[in-house]
């Protein structure tokens, strides 16, 4: 129970910081909207559902990357990591809280992205929304973990995409499959399995990421 309270306190802090600083969510919203407008005007004729689904996932992935890159910026710029690491809570609570905060921002960006996709390209359907939600969990869990690793390095802006994009490939495969397949069940199952597996790995090893 105390673990849940720790995660709650840390996630609340992250949401409050964003509410005050407003430097992540507005950027994500503008980026994802701009990408769809650009795709809309750049694509010739009427692109197929298969093609536009690919664009949707490219847009989601890069929007997420924008948020993930900023996830640990307050801790880096204000050097508050030491305070969190010294606190007696389980250190994985820092990862989980940060993942939840980033998930909130990503879902907020998708609330704009999906209607824009439907407006410019093709209608969205239930399996697509389920794929988006399952993919979000994996993206934020893995991305936050890698963000914590990258933030302590000098090449952090370069390192995060280099580490994250290869690990996000299975998410793209599962998500695109679930979005276009006539039987999306197995793709959704694959995404759920990915989420579970990587969440366990991140939860169990985050301690070593933040310890010197």
């Amino acid at each position: 129970m105390s673990y849940v309270r720790d995660v709650g306190a840390l996630a609340r802090k992250d949401l409050l910081l964003e509410l005050r600083a407003r430097d992540t969510l507005p950027a994500m919203l503008l980026f994802v909207a701009a990408v769809f407008v650009i795709f809309h005007f750049a694509l010739p004729g009427t692109p197929s559902r298969l093609e536009t689904t690919g664009f949707l996932w490219v847009a989601i992935l890069f929007t997420a990357l924008l948020g993930l890159g900023r996830a640990f910026v307050p801790e880096r710029e204000q050097r508050t990591f030491d305070g969190l690491v010294l606190a007696p809570c389980d250190r994985s609570a820092i990862w989980l809280a940060k993942s939840l905060a980033t998930l909130t921002f990503l879902v907020a960006a998708e609330v704009v992205a999906l209607p824009l996709y439907a407006l410019f390209f093709h209608p969205i359907h239930g399996a697509m929304v389920a794929a988006v939600l399952l993919a979000d969990v994996g993206i934020c869990g893995v991305g936050t973990f890698l963000g914590a690793m990258a933030v302590v390095t000098r090449a952090r802006d370069l390192l995060l995409p280099l580490l994250f994009l290869p690990l996000a490939m299975p998410i793209v495969v599962g998500a695109v499959g679930a979005s276009v397949s006539a039987s999306p069940g197995r793709y959704l199952g694959f995404l759920a399995l990915y989420d579970l597996l990587f969440a366990l790995v991140c939860w169990a090893t985050f301690e070593y990421v933040v310890a010197e």
């Binding site: 105390s2 802090k13 910081l17 204000q78 690491v85 606190a87």
Partner: protein
């Protein structure tokens, strides 16, 4: 409370700490002095559990919850208010009667009136006072204070003097300073580091 043998620390090729032995009994007050670059901060970070030595051993009879660390950074969020910062740490340290404790410390360090202002609007001295509130919030057994008087005005320094004197003997202190005369009356042991 703290015992170190042949403690050393290297960052790659650069050696920042060499063969430090120290014994700090419970209730002791160790003052660490030395010029810039002598390794004071590194030693204190190792003693607080924030860094690992690359040579030697250290034994600490205090858990993470029993350590209070004041570093060169205040470890508070600028976009949050003083109250929100201390509430956050109070929750993470599971402090009973958190609100009362937070209020008492803010009052004691003269920050009560500014408690709802964002820390980003604080002066350096006010931020240091808030950092001291954060360190004392969970009533730690071992206090590791790196240059605690930095940025404090005379009133702030006197507040800290009084706080240290009150806790002297009850808690264990490891304090680094460029002004050893200030804490000399409280010191039980001294460690001078050289470059």
């Amino acid at each position: 409370m703290l015992s170190a043998r042949r403690l050393g620390k290297r960052y790659g090729e650069k050696r920042v700490l060499r063969r430090i032995d120290l014994d700090l009994p419970r209730g002791g007050f160790l003052v660490v002095t030395g010029p810039n670059g002598a390794g004071k901060t590194t030693l204190l970070r190792i003693c607080a559990g924030l860094a690992q030595p690359t040579e030697g051993t250290i034994e600490r009879a205090a858990t993470r919850a029993q350590v209070g660390y004041l570093g060169h950074e205040p470890l508070v969020y600028r976009e949050l208010t003083a109250l929100e910062n201390l509430e956050l740490y109070g929750r993470l340290y599971r402090i009973p009667e958190r609100r009362e404790r937070v209020g008492m410390l803010l009052e004691r360090f003269g920050l009560w009136e500014a408690r709802r202002e964002r820390v980003g609007s604080y002066s350096r001295g006010m931020t240091q006072r808030l950092a001291l509130c954060r360190v004392l919030l969970h009533e730690p057994e071992l206090l590791v204070l790196d240059e605690p008087y930095s940025a404090l005005d005379e009133a702030g320094a006197e507040l800290l003097d009084a706080q240290l004197a009150e806790l002297r003997g009850e808690r264990t202190f490891l304090v680094s300073t460029h002004d050893p005369a200030r804490v000399e009356p409280l010191a039980s042991d001294r460690l001078a580091l050289a470059t």
